[in-house]
Amino acid sequence: MDDRRRRFELLVLPHLDAAYRFARWLSRSPSDADDVVQEAVLRAFRGFDALRGSDVKAWLLTIVRNCHLTALKQQQRRAFVPLPEEHDAEDGHAVIATTPDPESTSMRRDEQRTLDRLMSALPEEHREVLVLREIEEMDYREIAAVTNVPIGTVMSRLARARTALKARWLQEAEREPHAVR
């Protein structure tokens, strides 16, 4: 193994879990996420020399997102019909596997499934900012870099995403009061 490869494994591969989490929430399918992550790591490796500074995670997630968009375009071309985001709710439910926490009560598991399903049903531009902020805990500047939009857009998307998720969550609470605390 040469020096470049070694540096890559030490700097970039520790962020593989974050890349996978992000890919899972973008593609909403484990097998698609696998393909996206593999392609992203290879692209990252080829472009490794261009990496400057210490924002390795943001850099890798940017590549993951680009790979996801490329894969999505290819899928759409093959299918000939674009897949509208909003209609994916039912599919989204099926592809997100829940790993039950042994300590959790069944009520908690219900809630977990509910949130997973509601998140899956959000438009992609809402889903991605929510995952990057609340799960990956990135700041606005990093999210702007990953999603390739100005910071102002990150802020308004986050606000809309939170409002939308909250609204759906409340609706769910009315329908299934036990599922939401």
Partner: protein, 243 residues
């Protein structure tokens, strides 16, 4: 019609407001019921997402597949052991350790302590390296350090605040056996290193390779929390540990 300050309240909530702006927003929130409700909603949604949303680590099969794909990118020198073959065995550890040593010597060093901490953090993320004593009970973790590390740090569980104690580890570090308390925060691992202070000054908080490092000193122990969480989230744990 939402309050005109809603966006600034959100920025404040996300830790994006500087001290002056934050004080200003706090004053506004005191007098604005709508923004108080907004802040409450934001907090509830965040807590729910961090506690309930499903997130999985990269499966071992994917990790192996990625390494194979990387190997196919370039010819491997004949005598080198393919990395993925040893990735989950002791040989892998040695290969990584050798790699780490090389890496540490290679670039111009700014502060070797920071590089050491990041290396130790990254090493801990590899399979089977994270925890020597697995426990969510501080009464198990704390005494364990007595026999395995040179210092006895603060150990506490903050599961209710989103920082779950998952165990402890001893790392050889700065010529001593440092104690490492390990926390889980959402999908993130936070390593809290502690070692006996050898000088008065405490390093400035820093970011390396995508990992934040927050330093503080209590008594004659220096602490450093390392993670890829957000700054706010890391400093929240530091605050809890200092209380």
């Amino acid at each position: 019609m939402p309050c005109a300050e809603a966006m600034r309240v959100q920025a404040y909530f996300d830790g994006e407001a500087d001290a002056v702006a934050a004080a200003d927003i706090e004053r506004h929130i005191e007098g604005c019921a709508e923004c108080r409700a907004l802040l409450d909603d934001l907090e509830k949604l965040r807590t729910a997402l961090r506690q309930e949303l499903t997130f999985e680590s990269a499966p071992a099969a994917l990790r192996a597949r990625v390494l194979r794909a990387l190997n196919a990118q370039q010819p491997i020198k004949p005598r080198m052991q393919p990395f993925w073959k040893g990735a989950f065995s002791g040989i892998g550890g040695t290969a990584i350790a050798a790699g780490l040593a090389f890496f540490l010597l290679a670039p111009p060093l700014t502060n070797p302590l920071l590089e050491d901490l990041v290396s130790a953090h990254v090493r801990s993320l590899m399979p089977d390296h994270l925890i020597d004593v697995v426990s969510t009970d501080k009464h198990t973790v704390k005494p364990w350090f007595a026999g395995h590390a040179d210092v006895s740090p603060v150990v506490a569980d903050f599961a209710d605040q989103g920082y779950r104690l998952i165990g402890g580890r001893a790392d050889y570090f700065d010529h001593q056996r440092a104690a490492v308390v390990v926390y889980q925060h959402g999908p993130h691992v936070i390593n809290v290193f502690s070692w006996a202070a050898t000088k008065d000054s405490v390093p400035k908080d820093a970011t390396r390779n995508g990992y934040h490092m927050a330093f503080w000193k209590t008594g004659n122990l220096v602490y450093c929390a390392v993670s890829d969480t957000g700054w706010d989230e890391l400093r929240r744990l530091v605050q809890l540990l200092q209380e």
